[in-house]
Amino acid sequence: MTIEALGLEHFYGRDKVLNGVDVTIDAGSFTAIIGESGSGKTTLLSILSTLLQPSAGIVKYDGKIVSELGNIDRFRRHNIGFVFQFHYLISYLTLRENIALGAMEESRIETLLHSLGISKLSHRYSDEVSGGERQRAAIARALVNAPSVVFADEPTGSLDSKNALGVYELFRGFSCAGTGFVVASHDKKIADYADIIIEMEDGVVKDITK
């Protein structure tokens, strides 16, 4: 799957925070969006991931314009996973139940729990495991429907550097297996793991390196 953004502009009120962004992302790769705070990373990621409608410009998934997709919930459920800075695990459900929540089929859950190293913790509640483990459960939840692409905004923002590197490695591993990752972060270390690095500055793409 290929994600294409053409002429993206975005305003929050009168503030223009994206000013003509064109990017093409091959969904089978690990793409990092980096840049200073306020440069527009989150905004770009929200638009690419269909959560936010741009003020101008279009986003296409395999040539189909997002705003013209009929049922966006369904499209997301089938194609896109999300990981946020906070795990947002539902506290009254076990890790396993959290992962199963949006699962269209449960068959992948065991494999995911295993490959994320949390199968022994799957019956615990989120406040009974560590921050790194929570974030891994959140990653499993994002991957449960075998999406083509997972979007993550500062996924390591609440983790220490050791756990952060662990998360990048997971992303790298899963992207080699075919799932695309688009990750916004101001952690420079992500560059060591990503295939493509999009650097943002003041609402425009400053540089793309591979």
Partner: protein, 359 residues
């Protein structure tokens, strides 16, 4: 099923508040309907005892104000097809030391509809007491009604609270007490099919009277309409209060759980799924609240029925029809009260999870 229970337990403080507010509303609806229904059905039962047809003064709004000639009863008894006919005076007066008690002056042939427990039926100058008032007054040998003394000749037991807490005397004594000849005549028929014909005949006896089937009299009886309407209004208020309680608590619940619904949206759960989830949760609360409110209402009615203060006049009745009706009301209350907050929850934009860490 398990998941909503977990969610409710997790938010147990607000769950309990919703539960309490629903229980109170539902119990209020039960009690007001049961009590007003009880009053209506007790009074109806009284008039329907040996009364297929009721004769009152024409155009009178209330049986207590009705004034007809008691000799009418003798003429009615002559009509073919009439099984029994008895004149009655319905009144209320102080019975020392009770401030107000139902007094029934009845023609002799009606005594037998008050099953005796003790003693005998009253002669002139005597009364018989309902078992409830007999207990309340601690087994008196004589009573003072409106400053006039009567000997107690016997005690009867009636399942109708108004009678069991009341005093029965001869028609003539009642007439002196309330300064009238009779209030109503109750007529029972050999064959109900003849009622129209017999009503016609009775109505020709006197231009000042009006005969009706007791059934239709009760349907049109103003006092009952007033009781029914007030009970409906109070019930509707309780229903609205219940809904408001649910709306405000559920709004708080939804805002506490914003992240939860946002994440559900981000993993592609439909808005409908989220709405159904919340409706399911309140429905569970509603069902438990209903059961508890039903239990509480039975308890309260039992207490009221046995409270001396009410002399057995308040006799709530929770019929199975009422149970079903209130069950439906409870479910509707839960669904209506939850719908708007649930709709809001289902529209939480997952982008807020990205942009503000603090949802």
């Amino acid at each position: 099923m398990i998941t909503p229970l977990k969610a409710l337990r997790k938010n147990r403080f607000k769950t309990s508040l919703i539960f309490l507010s629903m229980s109170v509303s539902i119990a209020a609806i039960f009690l007001i309907s049961a009590i007003s229904g009880g009053v209506v059905s007790m009074y109806s039962a009284m008039l329907k005892t040996d009364g297929d047809i009721i004769v009152t003064q024409k155009g009178i709004a209330d049986t207590f104000f009705s004034d007809i000639n008691r000799s009418l009863n003798d003429s009615i008894l002559q009509i073919e097809g009439v099984k029994v006919s008895s004149a009655m005076i319905l009144g209320a007066a102080p019975v020392d030391p009770l401030p107000i008690v139902g007094i029934y002056g009845v023609s002799e042939n009606r005594f037998k509809s008050y099953p005796l427990k003790e003693g005998r039926y009253p002669k002139v100058g005597e009364v018989m007491l309902g078992s409830k008032i007999y207990e309340t007054l601690k087994h008196p040998r004589e009573v003072i009604i409106s400053k006039k003394e009567f000997q107690v000749s016997g005690v009867f037991k009636s399942r109708i609270g108004f009678e069991d807490g009341g005093v029965v005397m001869n028609l003539s004594d009642g007439g002196e007490l309330f300064h009238k000849s009779a209030s109503i005549v109750l007529v029972s028929l050999e064959d109900l099919g003849q009622s129209d014909e017999i009503i016609g005949k009775i109505n020709t006896l006197d231009a000042q009277i009006e005969a009706k089937t007791t059934e239709s009299f009760i349907e049109q009886y103003n006092q009952f309409k007033i009781i029914q309407t007030s009970s409906d209004v109070i019930g509707a208020m309780a229903f609205l209060m219940g809904i408001l309680g649910i709306v405000s608590m559920m709004s708080m619940v939804v805002s506490d759980r914003k992240a939860e619904f946002g994440i559900m949206r981000s993993i592609g759960l439909s808005s409908t799924a989220i709405i159904l989830k919340l409706l399911g949760e309140t429905l569970i609360i509603a069902i438990v609240a209903y059961v508890v409110a039903l239990g509480v209402s039975f308890g309260v009615l039992e207490l009221i029925e046995h409270a001396d203060k009410f002399q057995g006049y308040i006799n709530g009745e929770i019929t199975s029809a009422l149970m079903i009706q209130v069950f439906v009301i409870s479910v509707v209350m839960a669904l209506v009260g939850t719908f708007l907050p649930a709709l809001y929850a289902s529209r939480i934009d997952p982008v807020s999870l990205i942009q503000r860490g603090d949802v």
